[in-house]
Structures are given as structure tokens and as C-alpha cells.
């Protein structure tokens, strides 16, 4: 196992498209880091650069103590699980699992022993003589995994491995992967576009947007202290509500007042003058409170659609200025579409972002 480091990596394609911009990232030995972002964010490109399947335009990549920037994939000693599994269709499961070892010229009995062990641990023993075409999607995924494990590489790279599985299988496999990580203690880099997958799997998460690293932190840290508006809106489901408005100081005592189109609220803030900001509030921090009077710290809204989720209700509201707000309410009392309600903002759930830079202001 080894650590991986990206050092000011740039990737520009010949046609001018910039896939990665000045990316620096350190992945600790044994850590599971998730690379997450919307499509086009460059996350797959970054993974492929680590693998050596794409060349770096500038910067360096280190695996362990070696600088691998100029090395081809064959010499990097990493294993990759592809999105479409990339199982060799003309080889049996056994031959697929053993391919990497065969390439490293391991003796036949060593290969066989290793393949048997890996197959057993993944429940593939009965399938060893089948060809990939005869396997189900979930089985193929396990073979792809097994092929990587059998190699005992320095690190594992996963390129959206779950996206071809149906929802239930996805959840099960996710748990399996987490278990695998704990068992092997391996360094893993995992790419996904699904933020909930990122939150559940990663020791740390790196969020990418258009080739630029937004923030790298633990799931909790990202959730509770997102570094900018993009991260705040990306992490957490349903996504954070944003209100735009102005921040003005209210006397001394480190408090400011946020004034938006629909909401006015006191906010602890740094000494700063009236700035245009976005106030972010997660749906979980909005309380739907009947038709009581609206004052500071509350908004009036009309209920649009209510999604009953069994353990909670997701409420989609419209505010007078025409914007949409999402709140999460407990199962009872039942909220009815069309109701006019007041929504209270819980003071512990406030995030402030500069309107121009998107950066977080304050703690």
C-alpha cells in the first residue's frame, strides 16, 4: 500500500479543452478517497492520469515514493476497476482473475492459489470456468474487483464501478466495498458522480468542478462546513436552499442582519460591511410551522408538492418572490399542498457565502 500525491497537475487536451487545473491532492496510505463532481468535472480524467492512461500536461504524480508521471500504466503497480468492467470476453473468469499475475510472470501454482483465494472471498468459485458473457452484471462486477484484488497492487482506482448496477445492487455493493476497504486496509481512489455514495464510502472526499478542486475534507466536514457555495449545494440531499441578499452590521456584538427578498434574520458574522451574499440553509434546518405570524427568522410560503418518504416528508414550497424552497419535515403533522405556512429557520443551520466568489464567509 502506498500514498498517492498529485502535485500541481494540469491537463489540457490538444483541442484546448482544460480537464484539470492546478490540481494538488494528497491521498494517505490506506485511505479511501472519493473524487466526486458533476459530469465534465474532470474526475475520471484525474483518475486516468493516476493510472497512466492519460498523460499529464504539467505537474507530477507520485505513488509511494516514486515519481510516476512519465511511467506507463504497466509500471505503476496500481489496479483499476472500470465502469464497464472491461473483462476480457474471450477468457474465463479464472484467466481474467489471473491475468495481472500472469503479466508479472508469477509461477503457475502461485497464480492458481491466489485466484482460488480471491474467488472464494468474492463468492466466485463456482464461476471460475465461465466466460464473462455468461455472468450477470453483479457477478461481472465482482470479477472486475477480483482481478484488481488478485494483483495486490499499491493502490486501487475505481471508475464509477456501481453506475451500471440497479439501485438495490448498488447499495449492497457499496457496503461490500466499504467492508473490503476495511479488510484490506488498501489505498483506494473512488470516482463517482453520486454524492450520497461519496458521503457513505469516503474517508475523505475531494470535490471537483470543471477541473478545479473545490474542497477536500471528511464527509462531516463537507456537510457541516462547506467551503463554497458549489460544495454546499452539491453535498446533501435534498440540496441546500440559497437566499440572496445583503449583510449589514447590527451594532456591536458581532451580529449582522441578513436581508433577502423573503427572509430577514440575524447572523453571527465577521466585521464586514454590507455585502451581497448568499445565505444557505439545509432543508433539514427549516421548520414548517402552520400559519403563525411571520417575523424575523421566518419566511412565509405556500406548499407546492409534498413527497412522503416514509420516515419524513419533503416539502417543496414557493415563496412570495417566486423562488422555490425545500424543507424536510417530520412525518406528522401531515402537510397539505396549497397550504399557506410559515417556515422557521433554525439559527444553527446558517451558512453564508460571498455572492461574487462563492466562498464561505465566517465559521
Amino acid at each position: 500500500m502506498a500514498r498517492i500525491a498529485l502535485d500541481h497537475v494540469d491537463k489540457t487536451y490538444p483541442n484546448g479543452y482544460v480537464a484539470a487545473r492546478d490540481l494538488s491532492l494528497e491521498i494517505a496510505d490506506g485511505e479511501l478517497l472519493v473524487l466526486v463532481g458533476p459530469s465534465g468535472s474532470g474526475k475520471s480524467t484525474v483518475l486516468r492520469m493516476m493510472a497512466g492512461l492519460e498523460q499529464v500536461t504539467a505537474g507530477a504524480i507520485r505513488i509511494g515514493e516514486r515519481d510516476v508521471t512519465e511511467l506507463p500504466p504497466q509500471q505503476r503497480d496500481i489496479a483499476m476497476v472500470f465502469q464497464n468492467y472491461a473483462l476480457y470476453p474471450h477468457m474465463t473468469v479464472r484467466e481474467n482473475l489471473g491475468f495481472g499475475l500472469m503479466m508479472r510472470k508469477q509461477p503457475r501454482d502461485v497464480i492458481n492459489r491466489r485466484v482460488d483465494a480471491v474467488a472464494a472471498s468474492l463468492g466466485l468459485d463456482a464461476l471460475l470456468d465461465r466466460k464473462p458473457a455468461q455472468l450477470s452484471g453483479g457477478q461481472r462486477q465482482r470479477v472486475a474487483l477480483g482481478r484488481a484484488i488478485a494483483r495486490e497492487p499499491l493502490a486501487f482506482l475505481f471508475d464509477e464501478p456501481l453506475s451500471n448496477l440497479d439501485a438495490q445492487l448498488r447499495v449492497e455493493t457499496r457496503v461490500e466495498l466499504a467492508r473490503l476497504h476495511r479488510k484490506l486496509g488498501a489505498t483506494m481512489v473512488y470516482v463517482t458522480h453520486d454524492q450520497s455514495e461519496a458521503l457513505t464510502l469516503g474517508d475523505r472526499i475531494a470535490i471537483l468542478k470543471e477541473g478545479v478542486l473545490q474542497q477536500v475534507a471528511t464527509p462531516m466536514e463537507l456537510y457541516e462546513h462547506p467551503g463554497n457555495k458549489f460544495v454546499a449545494g452539491f453535498i446533501g440531499s435534498p440540496s441546500m436552499n440559497f437566499f440572496d441578499g445583503a449583510l449589514t452590521r447590527t451594532g456591536a456584538g458581532g451580529m449582522c442582519t441578513f436581508r433577502g427578498a423573503d427572509l430577514t434574520i440575524r447572523v453571527p458574522c465577521e466585521p464586514a460591511t454590507s455585502e451581497r451574499v448568499f445565505l444557505g440553509v439545509r432543508p433539514q434546518h427549516l421548520e414548517v410551522v402552520g400559519e403563525t405570524a411571520v417575523g424575523e427568522g421566518s419566511l412565509s410560503a405556500e406548499v407546492g408538492v409534498v413527497e412522503p418518504m416514509g420516515n419524513e416528508q419533503i416539502v417543496y414550497l414557493t415563496v412570495p418572490s417566486g423562488g422555490r424552497v425545500v424543507a424536510v419535515a417530520p412525518v406528522q403533522p401531515r402537510i397539505v399542498p396549497g397550504e399557506k405556512v410559515s417556515v422557521r429557520v433554525r439559527p444553527e443551520g446558517l451558512h453564508i457565502f460571498d455572492a461574487q466568489t462563492g466562498k464561505r464567509i465566517g465559521k
Binding site: A51, G52, L53, P72, P73, Q74, R76, I78, A79, M80, F82, N84, A86, L87, Y88, P89, H90, F99, G100, M103, R104, R147, R151
Partner: protein, 274 residues
């Protein structure tokens, strides 16, 4: 199929088309089994009097075996070399990135559009200077000109259809470029190679202009030339010509029947660029 008027029209037209397609063969077979004297006298669609004289004469008097042998050697050798050289080129064009690739593809495409007639005379003079007129190499070399672009074009299209991530996975697993080529790509490309081989072989077998221009006599003539130049003592020996046509066509027909799916795939892989 439901018996809607639309389907009946379709079906009917298809039947007519099938008859149109198969009639010349049918008629050739019938005629090849009919005595020479009866050929143009009151022909009927149903054979009345079957004889095998024409076929016998074909191989006894005319030594039709020789052109068949020549065609096999020339087409076979050309196909073999084109496949080997063509596969390497196709791999480079389908998998590697380098400047000038587009120009090369354009060039190859352009060569397939050459009118053969435009290079017949210089080739003739060149071959004559090398003393290769009326020899096997004297045909194989020119054939490679026209077979090679076809081979490369179809093979490149076919290799492109094999997913790239298989070789990437092999690279990550430690395979060198040559190993991933021989262990991963080549086995998966075998069907395409077979198809391209068939197409190239057919193309060479059917070639006429070069074979006509670069051979002098029956010793090295290929099947198309031999058939076209059948001369009779007093008149055109249609019976034998058609027997020869049947003999030349039968193996091709069988090959096409057996490999039709492959052939269609190969033609469309090369021809239609999505």
C-alpha cells in the same frame, strides 16, 4: 406477417426481385447442361435433354484447372500479405494517436478511388522491365495496390468497434503494448480478420483488368480472364463458357451463403462511417 395489402405488395415485389436475381444463374446452369446445337434453337425454361459434355470438355480439352489454380494462388497470396501488413496499419490507425493520421486515412480512401486504367501502362512497363510479365509476382504486386487500401479500411473500422477499455485494463494489469495486442486485441479481432480476408479474396478473385494486361497466355491467366477469352474453333462455345461460369460461381455462392452475415458486417463496418 399479417396479410395486409401493404405486405402483399412487398412480398410480391420481393419474389419478383428474387426471380430476377436468380434467373441468370438458373439459365446458365440449364444451358451448361444443354447440347451446343440446341442452345439457340427454341430455348425453353425447362431442360429437356441433359448432358455433361461441356463440363467434361472444360477440364479435359480446356484445362480449366490451370486458371483456377492461378486465381487461387494469386488471390490467396495477396490476401495473406494484405492481412498481415494491413492489421499492423489498422492497429496504428485505430488505436494510436499521431499527427498525420487523418491525412493517411484520406490518402488510403483516395487510392480506393483510383481508376485502375490510369496506372496500367506504367505498371506494365515496370513489370516488363523487371521481367515479371506473365508471372505470379507480376500479378500479386499490383493486386496489393488495390487490395491493401480495402483491407486497411475495413480492418480499421472493425478494430475501432472493439472497446478500448479492454486494452487499457490489460495495460493497467501490466501487459506491454505487444502483449495486449497479441493476447487481448488479436483474439477478439479474429472474426474481423476472417471477414476482411474473405472480402479481400473475393475482390482479388474477381479482378480483370490487371490480369488481362499483365498475363500473356493460359499458363498464368486467372479465371475471369480465361473465361472472357474462351475461343471456339468456329463459333463462341457458349456451352463451355457457361459451364465455366457455373464452376467459377459455385464456390463463391457457397462461400457467400455460409458467411453472409460476416460479409455484410465487414462491408458495413468499412463503408458506413456513423
Amino acid at each position: 406477417m399479417k396479410l395486409r395489402p401493404q405486405n402483399l405488395v412487398f412480398g410480391g415485389a420481393l419474389v419478383v426481385l428474387m426471380m430476377f436475381t436468380l434467373f441468370p444463374f438458373y439459365w446458365a446452369i440449364v444451358a451448361s447442361l444443354t447440347p451446343e446445337a440446341a442452345l439457340f434453337r427454341d430455348p425453353s425454361l425447362w431442360p429437356t435433354h441433359i448432358i455433361f459434355d461441356h463440363y467434361r470438355a472444360l477440364f479435359d480439352e480446356r484445362d480449366f484447372i490451370t486458371p483456377i489454380r492461378n486465381s487461387l494462388i494469386v488471390a490467396g497470396t495477396t490476401t495473406f500479405f494484405c492481412l498481415i501488413v494491413g492489421t499492423l496499419a489498422a492497429y496504428a490507425l485505430a488505436r494510436l494517436e499521431f499527427r498525420g493520421k487523418a491525412a493517411i486515412m484520406a490518402f488510403i480512401l483516395a487510392v480506393t478511388m483510383f481508376p485502375q486504367i490510369s496506372i496500367v501502362s506504367p505498371l506494365y512497363l515496370l513489370l516488363r522491365a523487371l521481367h515479371l510479365i506473365d508471372t505470379y509476382p507480376g500479378l500479386i504486386m499490383p493486386y496489393m495496390t488495390f487490395a491493401m487500401p480495402l483491407t486497411v479500411w475495413v480492418l480499421t473500422g472493425s478494430i475501432r468497434q472493439i472497446p478500448k477499455d479492454l486494452e487499457e485494463a490489460a495495460h493497467v494489469d501490466g501487459a506491454s503494448r505487444r502483449q495486449s495486442f497479441t493476447k487481448i486485441l488479436l483474439p477478439l479481432a479474429v472474426p474481423s480478420l476472417a471477414t476482411t480476408g474473405i472480402l479481400t479474396f473475393i475482390y482479388c478473385w474477381n479482378e480483370f483488368l490487371f490480369a488481362l494486361s499483365f498475363t500473356l497466355g493460359p499458363e498464368r491467366q486467372t479465371v475471369p480472364v480465361a473465361i472472357a477469352l474462351f475461343r471456339g474453333q468456329y463459333q463462341v462455345p457458349w456451352g463451355q463458357i457457361l459451364a465455366a461460369a457455373v464452376v467459377a460461381t459455385a464456390p463463391v455462392a457457397v462461400m457467400v451463403l455460409v458467411f453472409q452475415r460476416r460479409i455484410v458486417q465487414g462491408l458495413t463496418a468499412g463503408a458506413v462511417k456513423g
